[in-house]
Symmetry: C2
Subunit: 361 residues, 2 copies
């Protein structure tokens, strides 16, 4: 009924075969004991990839953007101050979502293509210790930049929570929620986790959970209130919240199973290897890598196009002649650059060489 | 990996085979021209089942609850007055979601199990013509009651919008968005539409669209802002919003295809027929139908248990001995009643007779 694409843009990527297969399993009701076991097992697998022992770890029924909003809406009240690192589109998105929730936002900028300076973020917090959270995107999908999270662990000595977007990093490069002192972390399933989109894994530290308990006003969103979701997934029928999709959760569970059977270090190594090869090859083809050296993500590469390659026409040719999708640029790269993902199941040699062959043919 | 249930609770129901099959299609990116065609075709099928020509008709990436919140969040501003019909759990949910958004709520009640009086709702609006919307659940999933919507068409002569929840009605009984003067309508895919959960079909009239344009403050939710979703589904990369799931939308598209190939009148007739048979059989088995006669939904039946049947043990036996799921009661039926759905693919003779055989054996 529709085409079979090799998905090498910023996401979705092609899911692991195990994740596709799981989609065909019979649907389960949201109160079925087998569904509750599936959710508990999925949460346990998510804890492993998040690097956390957080009890509150669950699949939000929406995409990564729903995960972002679930965290911000649950942790911020109107007029709260949020400090947000901004060096790309998704940092800007964090600001926009927080502002819509009525929060005050103080942005700490770095140019697109360069990493945030963790010291500037910590300074901003020192100047405004009343800030309720610092929010940072780990892997900026718009630029291919990796931001450092570990130095922000210092926030654990303050009353300011650390919120980290791992939409494009989780399962592709190391994420260490507990070791880095991350209080709230969300991701998405259609990138390095190798499943379809539609689920946002979220994990909260105990002090983030306590922050929600201590709210003065209820979360303005019912659908994305993480305390309601937490209660719901305990399986008490009186805490009915929504009809979670066993179809999507089964798929995520299976994708995570495949990933963990391979082992996180091996998966990270696989992403690193093909990403390096891509980033070595592109300049030879006339592309100019956008992210600053030393801060590049292996799984997502943004690059300016060679002279003579027209953005839309080039992507159309890849799509129509080869069935390959790459992503257009955002911000300063709009119309002049591409974003190429080698994520999850596609972080392998064949997708890489297939793409390079198509570009050079 | 898990059991194959016959899902005869309040939802999810077992999807149409065509909807299951579509889940296995290759994933498409959210900017792929084939994906945009899929979304446009799905919207067109949704217009047919909604009975509308509304341009803004789209799949929200979340469950029915996300559809409810998308409509309320997009149409209400803080301190706006909303009049809400309440005769069951989902009417109460409408109030809760609206209150969290900062709206004032005036509830118009009817007892659980009885229909709302449309004249009371219209009176409430006459007494408070500044009300921004009147919200009503068409098919109360908690009680099996069908509320009348057509008389509320009168609201078209006022500045008050009409918002209708068709989560359990759409595809099971007639829904006529345009003929009934409904300004905003949301549903869910896992009930009478015969697909998995995870998508909330939504449609807005032109005056509802205008209401969003005229807002003084942005919608507090970025994820559920229907004007952003509308722009996103036009396919302009600059209006990126979230990574919609081609997997789920393909499945909904296929389920709708099956439904429309059969034809809406035939599908409604099928739901009516098996529902009548169930409602004739249950009293003979000692069940007492909960919804008032003349206002019963065929697709969802709530009934008090016969003496001697213990709720949890009875449902467990159905599940473990027969692989059949029925739903527990909510509100006054909690612990003392069941909710039985014959919806979508399950609105057929075999699921009905299979259930009756299991109950009587």
């Amino acid at each position: 009924m529709h085409s079979d694409r090799l998905l090498l843009g910023p996401g979705p990527s092609n899911p692991y075969p195990e994740a596709m297969e799981a989609l065909s399993r019979p649907v389960l009701g949201h109160l079925d004991p087998e569904f509750l076991t599936l959710v508990a097992d999925t949460a346990q697998r998510l804890r492993t990839v998040f690097g956390t022992r957080n009890r509150l770890t669950l699949p939000v029924s929406g995409t990564g953007s729903a995960g972002m909003e679930a965290c911000l809406a649950s942790l911020l009240e109107p007029d709260d101050l949020a400090i947000v690192g901004v060096n790309g589109y998704f940092g800007e998105r964090l600001c926009e979502v927080a502002r819509r929730l009525g929060a005050q936002v103080r942005a700490v900028h770095a140019p697109w293509g360069r990493p945030l300076d963790p010291e500037q973020l910590l300074d901003a917090q020192r100047q405004a210790p009343q800030a309720r959270l610092v929010a940072v995107v780990h892997a900026e999908t718009s630029t291919g930049v990796r931001n450092q999270i570990a130095p922000l662990r210092e926030l654990q000595n303050t009353d300011t929570l650390l919120l980290v977007d791992t939409v494009t990093s989780l399962g592709g490069i190391p994420v260490e929620v507990d070791a880095w002192g991350v209080d709230a972390c969300y991701s998405a399933t259609q990138k390095c986790l190798g499943a379809p989109s539609g689920i946002a894994p979220v994990t909260l530290s105990e002090r983030a959970v306590q922050r929600i308990r201590d709210r003065e006003r209820p979360v303005c969103s019912f659908y994305l209130d993480l305390s309601l979701l937490d209660a719901y997934y305990q399986g008490d029928p009186a805490r009915y919240h929504h009809t979670a999709s066993s179809t999507l959760i089964s798929s995520v569970h299976a994708g995570l199973g495949r990933l963990l059977a391979e082992g996180l270090p091996a998966v990270w190594e696989r992403h690193a290897r093909v990403g390096e090869r891509l980033q070595a090859a592109l300049p030879e083809l006339g592309f100019e890598l956008f992210a600053e050296q030393g801060h590049r993500l292996p799984q997502l590469t943004a690059a300016r196009l060679p002279d003579g390659v027209v953005d839309a026409a080039g992507r159309k040719a890849l799509r129509e002649d080869f069935g390959i999708e790459v992503g257009g640029g955002l911000g300063p790269l709009a119309g002049t650059g591409w974003r190429i993902g080698l994520m999850g199941h596609n972080a392998q040699t064949r997708p890489l060489t297939t793409l390079l062959a198509a570009i050079t043919s």
